[in-house]
């Protein structure tokens, strides 16, 4: 207990804290990002979109209600590490099965706590997302420099995407093919809850193969990293959107945009939290949304495409929703499946199903 742990940032800053979770033998290099959700750490840590990242929780007390068996977004979380103010050693909740620490050990996720997470958050806000190293030992400046010379892994989507096709059958339900870029369980569940017959396919599945399943609609899931890392998927989507209504979420939204000629860019520090306000122009309403993305679709790349901006982020004006001008396809940058976060936009799943029915009618 109370082993030391050090966090080194690419800008030269260094933080000493205490170790929690998986013991590191080697210095661990990650991209460091912060999440502002006050509740829902289990869903956050198990969100595949955090693949290989180090997550700073701005809320200082994490682990209060432990870990339960229901709230996993994937059973194989792929975040590298977490950075906390204080980890709650004595959780309390009726569904709790593990402590956060047991969970971290189990999934080989490293962690540091008793560091000034607000200070680290401010550094990321000011200097942008950066590389970080977590290691239980002191590293010299030159050791850090050498380590920071390494590139971050960019194969997150292949890493988290399924390599086998999986079927979640429902007799008589709408058949949906979901491209798995690292989907969160609650997207699947939101479809299943609406009676859909869901086939989850690897990110690099061909259009022909998808057509063989004779789906009625297509979902492009969320996922980690840069959409440009899987350009091979783009022509597949171009092909499929001609035949099927598509609903795209987060990474899916970016791929959908790319497939229609728009561009994406890396944001300074992204949006990660459960409180992002999004304005829907058509309904003249604002939703509070859950978000987790480091890239976004650029606004000026939309003109000249067949896309139309339907929703924007009220804080920074970035694109939050797109729809195809002629095809029955639309996308959102945020997470309508929530988990964690508000349920304000779950109706989008209904809208998708409505679109499918209308299209096939």
């Amino acid at each position: 207990m109370d082993n030391k742990m050090y966090l080194y940032l690419e800008n030269g800053m260094e933080f000493e804290g205490k170790a929690v979770g998986h013991q590191l033998e080697e210095p661990q290099l990650s991209e460091i990002v912060f999440n502002t959700s006050m509740i829902g750490y289990q869903e956050v840590i198990t969100d595949p979109s955090y693949c290989f990242q180090s997550i700073v929780f701005t809320y200082p007390l994490i682990g209060n209600y432990g870990i339960n068996l229901d709230d996993y977004e994937t059973l194989a979380p792929s975040a590298n590490s977490i950075v906390l103010g204080e980890y709650a050693q004595k959780p309390s909740n009726f569904r709790q099965r593990y402590t956060l620490e047991q969970f971290l050990d189990l999934h080989q996720i490293a962690g540091i706590h008793h560091v000034d997470t607000r200070m680290i958050t401010k550094v990321i806000r000011q200097s942008g997302t950066m590389k970080s190293i977590l290691f239980p030992n002191k590293l010299s400046e030159s050791e850090c420099k050498d380590l920071f010379k390494q590139d971050l892994r960019s194969d997150q989507i292949p890493f988290v995407s399924t390599d086998k096709i999986c079927h979640f059958p429902s007799h008589g339900g709408l058949r949906i093919v979901m491209f798995d870029f690292g989907y969160k369980k609650n997207i699947l569940e939101s479809l299943l809850k609406r009676g859909c017959d869901v086939i989850v396919v690897p990110y690099n599945t061909s259009a022909e193969k998808v057509k063989l399943f004779n789906p009625q609609g297509i979902v492009l899931s969320n996922g980690p990293g840069d959409p440009m890392s899987i350009t091979e998927t783009i022509p597949v989507i171009q092909e499929l959107q001609k035949a099927y209504p598509i609903f795209s979420i987060c990474m899916g939204h970016q791929i959908f945009a790319l497939a229609n000629g728009a561009k994406t860019t890396k944001m300074k520090f992204g949006h990660r939290g459960s409180n992002q306000p999004v304005k829907d122009f058509a309904k003249n309403k604002v939703y509070i949304t859950a978000q987790n993305h480091g890239y976004c679709v650029t606004e000026d790349s939309i003109s000249g495409t067949d896309l139309e901006i339907t929703q924007i982020n009220l804080n920074d004006g970035t694109i939050e929703g797109l729809k195809h001008k002629t095809l029955p396809s639309f996308s959102v940058q945020y997470h309508p499946e929530a988990s964690p976060g508000p349920n304000d936009t779950k109706f989008l799943f209904d809208q998708f199903i409505h679109n499918i029915k209308e299209y096939h009618a």
Partner: protein, 1058 residues
């Protein structure tokens, strides 16, 4: 234009006098509303009868009406002002109820006034129990099953549908007296029977018990486009069963998973949408700790105490945004006032833990029933911010000013374990200390959880505090351990005592170890966006975000939680001090820990530190900020009490020096001063022990007035008439304040006069003199005060002014001074001098149109009265007579005697202002919430010594048409004097007749001048309690009785026969 174009003029209703459950939070929200409307170019008409508020300052609204909050007066004002809209949702339940009455009567529609922010039909659904039940059923939102019943049979029928445990709440009894929880069949029958009996209408509400569920609150805002946001959710440490106003509350919730949180969030959103509220709303829910089952407990369709807390906890200004919405804006049209470049339509994320702890009045009401339940009893609250729960809890505790600097109380440390285990099951204000003590004695937290249902998460945190305590006891000098203790919020004073050091010594030692606090910003967004909020709290972390303001700044010490004796009046003065400091070009920095107040609105000052007002926490700020000086005289006794330590630490205390304060508070030095300048005071002395007390009492002669030194609001002040009472008092005082001398004075019965003056060291300005209606012996805070004085000769007024000047100059007062005098047989005696802002500053400032606190602040900062162009001496009298009426919360405090005496009991004040005394009195009585009877029955009990004096007053009541009901002694006295009286049997003669008569509404007024005796078994006590609980006016002073009959006479039109 997004806002509603036709709104040019809007009436805002304030919440009136401060009572338990409706306190300064509505001054905060109301002030914010007025400022917001003004900025939108809307004319504002404010109606509020509470003169102690910032919102009733002349410049806050286009017009301010300090008139009683009744439909009668509101209608008059509306007819006169012809407003376009009425904003009722920021004036608490008072404001909402009034507006609804006007709307229901059709008055608003008739006058063409829009009701803003609320919808009449849907609001009724939130307010009316049956309609609410219906609405919840329509929405499929669960509420605990309940039924109103009037017989045991009906209760048994209900039990067949809803199994035990059940809660039985008698209708119309205080805090559900006579009811309770029934867990077994036997209990059930017993409780139902006793409940039916206790209710004056023999009716009880029987309800499924959800005691033990976690209680969670949601603060939500909705706009006309149906956009809804949750500003904050909060979790009560005390499970369902304790009123949320009496619970320790944390923000955000700590034990909910996202699934649970979203279930409750969805439910809250559904409700606010169904109610179509445009503005703020509070939803209280209960969630089972063992499942996803939840219930909706209550909805407040308005800005509330909780929303003030949520605003301060997150930085998100709910009242401001709610006001903008009520005039037509939508959330997405409003910028987040904190970050200034992101949207107000978002949900704040915070990166700290906020703990609110109620402040109860039990230091004043020693005999009160301290059990907590559904009736709120706290008068105020503190909020504390920390980076962990332990830190915020311990900061909160040391900010309460209850003579405790740690999670430890002498009482619980002395109690035996069995006692404590029993006590925690029926919670009182001390439960958190009792829990800590039990953990200290190694009782397992699982056992404590089983007994109290307090979540294990909280209990584990308490356990952590105890673990650190125990480790510290082993090695109190260990650096790592001290650092750990500081991170978890331990106070310097606690750590100092472990090391046998003074707090100052320990402070130096701690600093030598390199253990220093940092300050973090409150920014609504967990640092996601850049903010310029000048709002900070201290913690032990790495990065300090605040920086030195330096020599151009002045630190103002606030007045802490609202309690009896130190109310919103002191926040009023604090806010004015800040305004004056800024007007002179300095930066005003404020430290305070009361979330309900205007002074903790970060827009009011240049920088706000939300931290406890203790030497340690204030010094931390001073060492960082290095201000030019510190001003203590506006923050009541809280701030004044810091002066010795601050002065000792070399801090510049601006204004009246510590030495002068000491002279005023130190008996011997004060007496010496009065002797030197030849000013009379009631003969007096001090004593330290009983023997000394008895010896000195013989010299002075009874009756005697006793009080401890250095206290506020007449705390523990008592009049004693004989040796027995003196001994009792001396013993008690020695226990509570072992080293402090007790002041003992001859009790002079005379006319009490109060003066507030501003002194710059050379000149004084006395804006006005106030005369009390009640003779000396009733605490000044509980007396009706009249401005200008009605019965003083010109010579006496001159003498008062001359004496005031002499005292102020001799005491070298720079700033404010409050002096209380007694006039007896043309002699002037000085009762006490308070070298600070007083309770009467806002009242006097308003009625004399003089910004006293601002002038005083400027004097403190070196601007003489002459330089300020302020007329010196007594200012000319204004054309209006103004009366400050005390307002009490007795109906909420079981077992508290309502008889007035030297110890203060009122929680608030109201004003009555008019061209003549009876009219002003009428308004004062009405504004204080009394419905003045014009005829009816008076229950009279007059002590022998008062009989002669009372007779002419009773004759006037008789002439006005009142009948008398009296027990044998008084009845005989009345009959002997040709006043008809109906006799009624005394309670002590084993009769319930009197109590039944009051309960059944057969008594319209009680005049009960008390003979001695604080015994709760006495007839008088029972009678007074029954009056408080049934809302019958009960006067315990002859003088108030006289004032009331004058008003009644003025009001009654004489029908004259030919």
């Amino acid at each position: 234009m997004p806002k509603l174009n036709h709104l040019k003029k809007v009436v805002v209703i304030g919440s009136g006098p401060i009572i338990i459950g409706q306190a300064a939070e509505f001054d905060y929200s109301g002030s914010q509303a007025l400022t917001t409307l003004k900025a939108e170019g809307i004319e504002t008409i404010l109606v509020n009868s509470n003169p102690a508020t910032i919102m009733t300052d002349k410049e806050m609204a286009t017009k301010v009406y300090m008139e009683p909050l009744t439909t009668e007066f509101l209608k008059q004002i509306i007819i006169k002002e012809r407003p376009d809209g009425l904003l009722p949702s920021l004036g608490g339940q008072t404001g909402l109820n009034l507006a609804l009455k006007l709307a229901e009567e059709g008055f608003l529609e008739h006058e063409g006034v829009d009701l803003l922010g609320v919808n009449l039909n849907t609001i009724k659904k939130a307010e009316d129990r049956e309609l609410f039940k219906q609405l919840m059923q329509e929405l499929s939102e669960p509420i605990p099953e309940s039924k109103t019943i009037s017989s045991l049979d009906e209760a048994i029928d209900f039990k067949k549908q809803v199994p035990l445990p059940l809660i039985i709440r008698p209708a119309f009894t205080l805090g559900g007296t006579g009811g309770g929880i029934a867990k077994t069949e036997e209990e059930f029958e017993k409780v139902v029977k006793s409940g039916l009996h206790a209710s004056p209408i023999n009716q009880v509400l029987i309800e499924k018990s959800i005691a033990g569920f976690r209680e969670i609150e949601y603060e939500i805002i909705r706009d006309k486009n149906d956009n809804v946001i949750v500003v904050c959710n909060m979790e009560n440490l005390d499970p369902v069963g304790v009123h949320t106003g009496d619970s320790i509350v944390v923000a955000p919730s700590q034990t909910l998973t996202d699934k649970e949180h979203q279930i409750l969030r969805d439910s809250s959103l559904k409700i606010i949408r169904a109610l179509k509220i445009e503005g703020g709303c509070n939803v209280q829910l209960a969630i089972d700790p063992l499942s996803f089952n939840y219930y909706v407990i209550e909805v407040n369709p308005r800005v509330s105490r909780s929303s003030a807390l949520a605003s301060k906890a997150t930085g998100y200004p709910i009242a401001q945004i709610a006001t903008l919405i009520s005039i037509g804006y939508t959330l997405d049209e409003i910028k987040n006032p904190i970050t200034k470049n992101t949207s107000a339509c978002f949900e704040p994320s915070i990166d700290y833990i906020v703990t609110k702890i109620p402040r109860w009045p039990y230091d004043k009401f020693i005999s009160a029933d301290r059990k907590l339940g559904t009736q709120m009893k706290a008068t105020g609250e503190v909020m504390a911010i920390g980076r962990n729960f332990e830190e915020s809890l311990l900061k909160g505790i040391r900010g309460l000013e209850i003579k405790r600097d740690h999670l430890w109380s002498k009482e619980s440390s002395k109690a035996d374990t069995e006692e404590l285990l029993a006590s925690i099951q029926s919670p009182t204000d001390d439960r958190i200390f009792e829990l800590a003590e039990l953990i200290r004695r190694d009782v397992s937290i699982h056992e404590l959880h089983n007994l109290t249902r307090v979540d294990l998460w909280f209990l584990n945190k308490l356990l952590n505090i105890i673990k650190i305590e125990k480790a510290l006891a082993e090695s109190p000098q260990d650096k790592d351990l001290i650092l750990r203790a500081k991170k978890y919020g331990f106070s310097d004073t606690y750590l100092a005592s472990l090391n046998n050091q003074s707090p100052i010594e320990f402070r130096e030692f701690r600093k030598s170890l390199g253990i220093n606090p940092v300050f973090k910003m409150v920014d609504t967004c967990a640092a996601e966006f850049e903010s310029q909020t000048p709002y900070f709290y201290s913690t032990y972390g790495t990065e300090n975000e605040s920086s030195e303001t330096g020599n151009e700044s002045i630190l103002v010490i606030g007045s802490g939680p609202i309690r009896i004796g130190q109310g919103v009046e002191f926040d009023y003065a604090t806010v004015h001090a800040i305004k004056a400091i800024r007007a002179l070009g300095y930066k005003a920095i404020v430290v305070n820990n009361n979330p309900e107040t205007v002074s903790t609105d970060f827009n009011v000052s240049d920088k706000l530190y939300f931290d406890p007002i203790t030497f340690e926490d204030v010094m931390n700020i001073i060492e960082l900020e290095k201000p030019k000086g510190v001003i203590c005289q506006f923050g009541g006794q809280t701030a004044i009490n810091l002066t010795p330590q601050l002065a000792q630490a070399g801090v510049t205390v601006l204004g009246t020096s510590y030495d002068s304060i000491d002279i005023a508070e130190n008996r011997n030095r004060f007496e010496e001063l009065l002797n030197t300048i030849d000013i009379a005071q009631p003969m007096g002395t001090t004593f330290l022990n009983t023997d000394e007390a008895l010896k000195k009492a013989t010299q002075l002669g009874y009756p005697l007035m006793l009080r401890p030194s250095y206290v506020i609001g007449g705390e523990a002040m008592e009049i004693v008439y004989d040796d027995k009472e003196l001994i009792e008092y001396a013993k008690k005082a020695n226990e509570i304040w072992p080293d402090r001398p007790v002041l003992m004075d001859k009790y002079l019965i005379g006319l009490e006069i109060e003066v507030d003056a501003i002194c710059d060291g050379t000149d004084i300005c006395v804006p006005g003199i106030m005369e009390h209606i009640e003779r000396s012996g009733v605490h000044s805070g509980d007396s009706f005060a009249v401005y200008p004085p009605q019965s003083l000769s010109d010579q006496m007024i001159e003498k008062i002014i001359a004496t005031t000047k002499k005292l102020a100059l001799e005491l070298k007062i720079i700033g404010l001074v409050n002096i209380q005098f007694i006039v007896k047989k043309d002699q002037l005696y000085v009762l006490e001098v308070n070298p600070r802002s007083s309770r009467t500053i806002p009242f006097l400032s308003k009625v004399t149109n003089t910004q006293m606190a601002q002038i005083a602040t400027k004097a403190v900062l070196g601007n003489s009265l002459k330089e300020q162009n302020i007329q010196t001496g007594l200012l000319p009298t204004t054309e209006y007579i103004a009366i400050k009426a005390p307002v009490f919360s007795f109906s909420k405090l079981a077992m508290v005697d309502t008889a007035l005496g030297p110890e203060m009991k009122s929680t608030g004040e109201a004003i009555g202002r008019d061209t003549n005394l009876p009219r002003a009195l009428y308004k004062a009585f009405t504004a204080a919430g009394m419905e003045i009877p014009s005829y009816g029955t008076i229950l009279v009990t007059v002590a022998d010594k008062h009989k002669d004096e009372t007779l002419p007053i009773l004759k006037r009541y008789h002439q006005a048409g009142f009948k008398f009901l009296a027990t044998s002694g008084t009845a005989k006295f009345l009959k002997d004097n040709k006043l008809p009286a109906q006799e009624i049997t005394k309670i002590s003669d084993n009769s319930n007749d009197i109590l039944e008569a009051i309960k059944k509404g057969k008594v319209d007024l009680i005049i009960n001048t008390i003979s001695k005796g604080k015994d709760s078994e006495s007839d008088g006590f029972k009678m007074r309690r029954m009056a408080a609980e049934t809302g019958v006016i009960c006067l315990t002073s002859i003088d108030t009785s006289l004032a009331l009959i004058k008003t009644i006479e003025m009001n009654s039109l004489n029908s004259l026969p030919l």
